[in-house]
Amino acid sequence: MRADLELIYDWIAPDTHVLDLGCGDGTLLAALARDKQVTGYGLEIDPDGIASCLRQGVSVLEQNLDDGLGNFDDDACDLVIMTQALQALRRPDIMLDEMLRVAPECIIAFPNFAYWKHRLHLSLRGRMPVSRSLPHAWYDTPNIHLSTFKDFAGLCRQKGVTIVDEAVGSANHEGHWSSRRWPNLFGETAIFRVRRGI
């Protein structure tokens, strides 16, 4: 499993009813259902991802996140998960409101633009960073709202959303003291667990 998914997997309690926004091939939901009796739905638009979900028995709905979550009632779930999708949304701030309407708690993972390699790339080469967490060129990237670890924490403060937990990860499971101490600089992927209200 991808490193950020593994961390999220550990954070989720048994019997939770979840909504996974951009659930990909359904790896996380399938593992949670198998090991922790977690129920819920994944939203995905990639046909291969959807087929993979169906083969694993993951309930998957073809739904574009930019169309909102209007088909889910207030407090429809215990938890909303969104990994590697925040930066591709038209309005990440509105989505955060929507997520916290549908569930009291959310887990959000996204590439940290302030990661030192990205900073180095931009400052030394003077060009938009391309890395393993941001593999696209500036002209064809789906990532239209890149942000940093600090940016997201700021948005939560501004919205009066409580940060319950925060972590940073890298694409290949390495944990290092430096990323815990200076997450905005050494974290490749930012992961937040947030709660409605203060």
Binding site: T39, Y41, P47, I50, A51, S52, C53, L54, R55, Q56, G57, V58, S59, V60, L61, E62, Q63, N71, F72, D73, A76
Partner: protein, 391 residues
């Protein structure tokens, strides 16, 4: 002989008839004292009797869903694209049952059958059927075949409504449901189209208020019109446009009312073929069953409440250009299932073929449908292994 059929075909199939002598109470208040159902099966029922899949047919469908009735058949059954060895409903894995519904005109008891009480054909006195009535009759067939629980109940359009009804009426007897290009209820526009079709039939001078068989007449004109209207709603504007455009049959305008545009020729041909192969009373009855279907109706319009008994996972598929039962109708069903806390997957398949897309080959549709069925097959396998281990 089988060498003449494609290798992914179920090959030669023979319909069977099941006769039921105990009465079936119907939603309209009447009772069918006895009835017959014609059906076909493909594949083999496993020892646990757990791999049966029920296929429910649409408005003008019947039991012949896959394979061929004779070596000289030009076309296979109506859903051959998705039923067969290695296909989405893999007959190497599943035992498939496909029947002709009550009230039909392909061998099951219907308006053309003899009413035992009078000794004459039922004609227009054949009871108006509902989707729920059909599902009860299908459950009788399942009993007869020794199937306690279906691995899946599957259907497109009106067939999808039957699959829905199964999960509501017999939740313990369905392990999975797939509803394709269906709707939880007809819209006013849908009912309006059905009513025009019915009026076309009923106003045909050869209809004789349904007693045309006694007069040795067939309301061909009415049936033809009904089919032409229906057919327009099965296609998309795009598919009609790309297929016929404004093409003329000859290279000039004739300033008359004979067939001039290719689309006119096509519709007339469709109508003509249908008018000699389908029964008018059956058509009326099937359109009524469509109009009446509304599980939410008994729950004050609350579809989620109607779906409360559902126990199994759903697969809901719609098609982007279907305007008869538009994607929004499937999404209503999905939202209600989510609201009711049920397991459901949904895909809106990209197709230019309108409502008819559910019958046609399509890579994405095939992938979604196959993946769902493979998971069901996997569940069965796992179930057997666990049973074996505890023995």
């Amino acid at each position: 002989m089988s060498a003449s059929f494609p290798s992914d075909s179920v090959g030669l199939v023979t319909p069977q008839t099941a006769t039921f002598e105990s009465p079936l109470a119907l939603a309209c208040g009447k009772t069918l004292e006895r009835f017959e159902l014609v059906f076909e099966t493909y594949g083999t029922l496993n020892a646990e009797r757990s791999n049966a899949v029920l296929i429910c047919h649409a408005l003008s469908g019947h039991h012949h869903a896959a394979g061929y009735h004779s070596a000289t058949d030009r076309k296979p059954g109506w859903w051959d694209a998705y039923i067969g060895p290695g296909k989405a409903i893999d007959t190497n894995r599943f035992f498939v049952i496909s029947l002709n519904n009550l009230g039909g005109c392909h061998g099951s008891t219907g308006p053309a059958s003899v009413n035992p009480a009078t000794g004459h054909p039922w004609g227009p006195t054949f009871p108006v059927m509902t989707v729920a009535d059909w599902v009860h009759s299908q459950a009788r067939l399942a009993d007869r075949l020794g199937i306690e629980r279906f691995a899946a109940v599957v259907g497109g359009s009106l067939g999808g409504m039957q699959a829905m009804q199964w999960s509501i009426a017999y939740p313990e007897r369905v392990a999975n449901v797939a509803t394709i290009a269906a709707t939880p209820r007809l819209s006013a526009q849908n009912i309006a189209f059905n009513e025009v079709a019915r009026q076309a039939i009923r106003s045909d001078p050869d209809f004789f208020v349904g007693w045309y068989a006694e007069r040795e007449a067939i309301p061909k004109l009415g049936l033809k019109l009904a089919r032409m209207i229906g057919h327009i709603t099965y296609l998309s504007e795009h598919s009609m446009g790309s297929r016929f455009g404004r093409d003329l049959r000859s290279d000039q305008l004739n300033f008359g009312y004979d067939v001039e545009f290719q689309v006119e020729s096509y519709l007339r041909h469709q109508g003509d073929t249908f008018s000699t192969s389908f029964d008018a009373n059956t058509y009326l009855l099937m359109t009524k069953a469509l109009d009446y279907f509304d599980p939410a109706g008994e729950h004050g319009g609350d579809l989620a409440a109607a779906l409360a008994p559902v126990e199994c996972p759903y697969l809901v598929i719609s098609f982007t250009t279907d305007w008869r039962f538009a994607p929004a109708r499937s999404q209503e069903l999905v939202t209600a299932l989510v609201r009711a806390g049920k397991r459901v997957s949904y895909v809106n398949v990209d197709s230019s073929h309108g409502h008819d897309a559910f019958l046609l080959p399509n890579e994405q549709y095939e992938s979604v449908f196959s993946s769902f069925m493979q998971r069901i097959d996997g569940d069965l396998e796992r179930g057997h292994r666990q049973k074996g281990a505890t023995r």
